[in-house]
């Protein structure tokens, strides 16, 4: 039985249909033993006729049966899609690499079409020689490859005041994870020369995009020289337009807004510019009305991607794979615990691969479902010993007005028919 998830209404319709036919979702699998399977005993058209030739799709897209695995938008969040955000379908993905075509987008003035031939990157300010690079120049510097997650600081931001959006895509989908190819920012800064900057300890780089929003952020020099990249490839191919083609900045472990797309300028300065995106936005207001600024690093966080509201259990009781993603801006994930009872007891999940610094880590809990309701939670730990907090713990320190940096433990209420719902528990 093929079921494509297309929003809650069709899922509800599906559930209703199942209930009418067999009582519960679990009923769907009980029928399997009755008689021989015609998919096996009868010759199928795909086993007799011919498929598409090699050039049918010169650049392939996912098969039509996967057309529900797409980015989705929450329209009421913003005034206009030009300055807006959508969400990666993390509930339907596995492994750790996010395909570019469904990796979330966030634009401030829309995604622009900028040709490589028209691309220029300037380095100015406190450098020995202000320089201009073309795209071809960038390709002649020694290259590096690294995989990093990019998380918007507002990911899960709608959940501060309570459970709100019903799906991992919407609660946690402002994230993607790609393998980047590019040049280190250090290489370019050293090419321009930093002697003119003097003591680098209190220096900054201000980075700015070529689009109309001219998004700019100030980054401390030690981070700029540490691990930032000027990237021009992701997952082996050119960046997509919506992710900053032809060149974007990569700021590992730090909030996505700093990863300036279509980066056109790097200025070495002796102070933070205090641009709009580092003062009026991306600052976190505490209960007493004061606000934290320069909250760059993304705290350790995790979420169960399946089962989840958009990925209900359809097979009934028995073997069940609980899976999800974990990440930390402070380094590698070392452990993920999963609770089925809303945090009373925890068991340690299996990491698909050892955690890599500032990259998504996939975890699995291979378990047996007894068909009873579950309050599914996951809790990440990173190499600094940080443990992902509960929403209550976060609210005690930050109140409910932070908007950004909500890394709380998420709860999915899986009920006996396999459906899951975003809830908040005591």
């Amino acid at each position: 039985m093929t079921v494509s998830f297309k929003g809650k209404s069709s899922r509800r319709a599906f559930l209703k249909g199942t209930l009418a036919a067999g009582g519960t979702l679990a009923g769907a699998t009980l029928a399997k033993a009755e008689g021989a399977d015609p998919l096996i005993t009868e010759k199928q058209p795909w086993a007799q006729g011919l498929g598409d030739g090699v050039d049918a799709t010169p650049y392939g897209l996912p098969i039509k049966y996967e057309d529900d695995v797409i980015r989705r938008n929450v329209e009421w969040l913003t005034a206009d899609t030009i300055s807006s955000i959508n969400f990666s379908p993390i509930h339907a993905l596995d492994g750790t690499i996010t395909p570019q075509g469904c990796a979330f987008e966030r634009h401030h003035s829309g995604a622009i079409e900028l040709k490589k031939e028209d691309y220029r990157l300037m380095i100015n300010g406190l450098v020995d020689q202000p320089l201009v690079f073309t795209y071809e120049d960038l390709e002649r510097f020694p290259r590096v490859n690294h995989t990093f997650f990019l998380e918007c600081a507002a990911n899960t931001g709608m959940e501060w005041a309570g459970a709100q959006l019903n799906g991992a895509q919407f609660t946690h989908g402002m994230i993607h994870n790609m393998e980047y190819t590019g040049v280190t920012l250090r290489t370019l800064l050293e090419e321009a020369g930093l002697d003119a900057a003097g003591d680098l300890k209190d220096k900054w780089v201000y980075v700015e995009g070529a689009d109309a929003s001219s998004n700019g952020r100030s980054i401390p020099m030690d981070k700029a020289l540490d691990d930032c990249m000027i990237a021009f490839k992701a997952n082996g191919e050119a960046l997509r337009m919506e992710h900053g083609y032809p060149v974007r900045l990569v700021v590992p472990g730090w909030e996505g807004n700093m990863w300036v797309k279509w980066i056109r300028r790097i200025e070495v300065t002796d102070q933070a510019v205090q641009s709009r995106e580092e003062t009026s936005k991306y600052t976190d207001t505490l209960e007493n009305g004061t606000s934290r600024k320069w909250t760059w690093v993304m705290d350790a966080k995790s979420v169960v991607t399946s089962p989840s509201p958009q990925a209900p259990i359809k097979h009934g009781k028995g073997p069940l794979v609980i899976t999800g993603l974990a990440w930390s801006g402070r380094g590698a994930i070392t452990r993920v615990d999963v609770s089925k009872d809303g945090g009373k007891t925890w068991e340690t999940a299996r990491l698909a691969n050892p955690g890599q610094p500032m990259a998504l880590t996939r975890f699995y809990l291979d378990t047996t479902w007894d068909g009873e309701e579950m309050f599914l939670q996951s809790r990440a730990m990173d190499e600094t010993g940080y443990v992902q907090p509960t929403k209550t713990q976060l609210r005690e320190v930050r109140g409910e007005n932070s908007v950004y940096h909500n890394n709380c433990i998420q709860t999915w209420w899986v009920n006996a028919n396999g459906e899951a719902e975003n809830v908040e528990v005591s």
Binding site: V74, L77, L131, V144, T283, T285, P309, G343
Partner: protein, 353 residues
């Protein structure tokens, strides 16, 4: 910084150790010409670094704002729909759903100047001259009650403007304030009871394929969902007798003046309460008597006193709204000309018949 910070750097350095080691320069790229640097290097910092020569008045700013900004931000910087509000909100930062505007939140004036100049207007960025930018920023300050209506902002007096929330920020203190998040977590008997305290399905704001549901929540422009509140009873029934003859020309003029009000107030068939209440029937009606609109405390107490929107009260309120009704939510600065007030009153009479 802290031990964790050092740890990150340590980790990261290991991570990129696969990078080729080199110290020499590659001789790639070319020198940036001074005019090229000048064309792109236009960011402005809090100490005024980057500010060009120039100046602009509140008066000019009001006109420019109306032309270039009001379509999204409202005539009085009060914001249209989900677009950002630029004025108001002072004193709300420690409340539920704080209103963050240039006046209530932004710590540096340079940020406003830089952003207006470099990133606005939306769809026509980098089209404003330095003088125009000074004027628009002056108007934004005025709409936040931070300067008077005769104020002129310039490079010279730029740093003298005091931003109310300048001291409202602290540098990221998570590693201190949230120290308790580091440690060994509980594995068994971590709590005795688990109860559902909130469900997303009850709120029902998740989009489905039919499109997004109606809701009005946004990080920056949150409107409190209309909570039913006790409304002041109309103190007096509108006078039905003696409908005075209207001056048609004056009504027409008033309709033009009303354009300034339209961003927030609707009239006519199918009018709805927006940022401000419907104004059908407002003339000679009791203050704060429009159904379903959440009035300020000020308006509620005016209603309790039995105030009616007669000529005198309308004239007083429209001339200086915030002086006449201290605490009103209406962010309109007021109509300067008596003849505009007379015209709009006539127009409101016409929609009240």
């Amino acid at each position: 910084m802290s031990k964790y910070r050092n740890l990150i750097i340590g980790t990261a350095m290991t991570a990129i150790s696969a990078a080729p080691a080199f110290a020499e320069r590659f001789g790639l790229g070319r020198a940036a010409l001074p005019e090229e640097v000048a064309a792109w290097n236009v960011d402005v910092s809090p100490d005024g670094t980057g500010l060009p020569e120039g100046s602009g008045s509140v008066e000019d700013g009001e006109m420019l704002f109306s032309e270039s900004c009001a379509v999204c931000h409202g005539e009085f910087a009060e914001g249209v729909d989900n677009w950002p509000k630029l004025a108001g909100g002072q004193g709300t930062l420690d409340r539920k759903d704080p209103l963050k505007t240039v006046g209530s939140y932004w710590p540096y004036l340079s940020t406003a100047w830089d952003y207006v100049h470099r990133s606005m207007p939306f769809g026509n960025a980098q089209s404003l001259s330095a003088d125009e930018t000074y004027a628009i920023v002056a108007y934004i300050l005025y709409s936040n009650d931070l300067v008077d209506d005769d104020f002129v902002l310039s490079k010279e007096n730029f740093l003298e403007v005091e931003m109310p929330n300048a001291d409202g920020f602290i540098i990221d203190d998570r590693e201190e304030a949230e120290k308790s998040f580091w440690g060994e977590p509980c594995m068994t008997d971590c709590k005795s009871e688990v109860k559902i305290t909130m469900r997303a399905a009850v709120l029902d704001v998740t989009p489905d394929e039919e499109g997004a549901e109606e809701a009005s929540m946004d990080e920056g422009t949150t409107e409190t969902p209309a909570a039913e509140e006790a409304k002041a009873e109309p103190a007096a029934a509108p006078a039905e007798e003696a409908v005075a003859a209207l001056d048609a020309d004056l009504v027409a003029t008033g309709e033009k003046v009303f354009k300034k009000c339209k961003a927030c107030h609707q009239v006519g068939d199918g009018a709805k309460n927006k940022t401000g209440p419907i104004l059908n029937g407002i003339y000679n009606s009791a203050v704060a008597s429009v159904d379903g609109f959440k009035y300020s405390k000020t308006f509620k107490s005016m209603a309790e006193e039995g105030m009616v929107w007669d000529d005198a009260n309308l004239a007083g309120f429209l001339a200086k709204p915030r002086k006449f009704a201290k605490g009103t939510k209406m962010s309109f600065a007021g109509l300067k000309k008596d003849k505009d007030i007379a015209a709009i009153t006539e127009y409101l009479k016409s929609v009240s018949q």
